[in-house]
């Protein structure tokens, strides 16, 4: 009985964490480009989001601004609603600079995780990376797969709209983080929800201005 319970638990755990679609994806040769494009485009624009970060039950809310400084260089700044700066990140190609961080955020693991999430969302370091272009059996999505070491990133482009609707960041086929991009207007998602599966961390971005 105990073994049955244990195996049921393991089964539930595995199905809830495993990416179910891996085996069913087939290579495709459709007319989409060979790599996915960043939602932030290449126009040196800035974007302003109302942002909520929930980490282990603690809420941080504020405004997140992204600004493209040069083709591969992005500045990302998070302030409270009252204007106090919480962190200031710079992503240049594959390098990262921490310009500023308040003590409350200056915890290496948390900072590294948020930094990694933003890097994946910015998609500014994908130039020259190789992707596999896949499709699901129903043909609803074109899926770009990028593999680096034990990590795989999946970018889901909806066939009907050609919009990036989901990014999955996984390690050894277990999903670690899902980015859901929704409510598109003028080719930009109004909502981005970043949810972690191995830690209690959720980041919600709601577009205010671009």
């Amino acid at each position: 009985m105990r073994n049955l319970l244990l195996s049921s638990f393991i089964a539930i755990f595995l199905t809830s964490c495993t990416l179910g679609h891996y085996g069913r994806l087939k290579k495709t040769d459709n007319d989409l480009p060979s790599s996915p494009a960043s939602i932030f485009g290449d126009n040196f624009n800035s974007f302003l989001f109302k942002t909520n970060i929930t980490v282990y039950g603690k809420d941080f809310s504020g405004l997140l601004v992204t600004k493209q400084m040069s083709p591969e260089d992005y500045r990302v700044i998070f302030t409270t609603e009252l204007g106090m700066k919480l962190f200031d990140f710079e992503f240049k190609d594959t390098s990262f600079t921490l310009h500023y961080c308040v003590p409350q955020f200056n915890k290496p693991k948390l900072l590294k995780t948020i930094q990694e999430d933003i890097r994946i969302l910015l998609m500014n370091d994908l130039k020259g990376k190789s992707f596999q272009k896949l499709a699901d059996p129903k043909g609803s999505y074109t899926i770009y797969r990028k593999e680096e070491g034990s990590f795989s990133d999946y970018y889901f482009i909806e066939t009907a709209t050609k919009q990036l609707v989901k990014i999955e960041h996984s390690k050894k086929q277990l999903k670690k983080v899902i980015f859901a991009l929704s409510n598109y207007q003028n080719n930009f998602p109004n909502n981005v929800m970043i949810k972690h599966y191995n830690i209690k961390l959720k980041i919600e971005l709601n577009l205010l201005k671009k």
């Binding site: 909520n52 601004v65 500045r75 609603e81 409350q104």
Partner: protein, 211 residues
């Protein structure tokens, strides 16, 4: 030779004394100003106003502008509400602080958290202009034909890490704070302009409760 010494002397003296901000000179009578401010603050039982907040970040091409409304009632009741481009509200009621965001309300005990305590002190003092009595800031006093300008420099290291100074622009006619500018060590700043101010008009206590 004499001229070179004079020049060097002026240069050294000029640098060692802080310059008054552009358009302002050192305040002539700081004692009179302080007592007037205090008297005005004592006379004020309620206050409400619209505000426009502007966030300047050197790397951004445009400032972030948000607008809202605040209400203040003695003693220690404050409602600070952003209305556009997002809704967000901080309510301070005695020793409690409420934050309403996304329809969700979080309640905090101000005394339980050092940061909330300093937010509370700073916000209440900002709208009342009595931050100049705080031991945590070193004030400098200036004036122009329209404004008194108080430059407050934090004394504590913990505050200095994120705040270079606070400038309070006070109307010479009614001693009301018209503008607050908070500058960070990086020279990025937040400025808040107040408009449509009403003082001593009745404000219901319900304004300072959050459901």
């Amino acid at each position: 030779m004499k001229n070179i010494f004079l020049f060097l002397f002026t240069l050294i003296i000029g640098n060692s004394f802080a310059q008054a901000p552009k358009g302002f000179t050192a305040m002539k009578d700081t004692t009179a100003f302080k007592s007037k401010m205090e008297a005005q603050s004592k006379l004020t039982t309620t206050m409400e106003s619209d505000f426009t907040q502007e966030k300047y970040l050197s790397v951004m091409s445009e400032n972030i502008i948000s607008k809202g409304h605040f209400c203040f009632k003695k003693t220690n009741m404050l409602r600070w509400e952003y209305l556009t481009p997002y809704t967000y509200m901080i309510v301070i009621n005695k020793d409690k602080m409420f934050i309403k965001d996304n329809g969700k309300v979080n309640k905090y005990d101000i005394n339980s958290n050092k940061m909330f305590k300093s937010i509370n002190e700073m916000m209440v003092a900002t709208v009342q202009g009595n931050l100049l009595n705080s031991k945590d800031y070193k004030p400098k006093f200036y004036e122009s034909d329209k404004f008194y300008l108080i430059e407050l420099t934090p004394v504590q290291k913990a505050t200095k890490d994120f705040l270079k100074n606070i400038l309070l622009y006070i109307n010479k006619n009614d001693y009301a704070v018209e503008k607050v500018k908070m500058t960070e060590p990086s020279d990025d700043y937040t400025s808040i302009d107040f408009s449509n101010r009403k003082t001593n008009q009745p404000i219901a206590d319900e304004k300072f409760t959050v459901k």
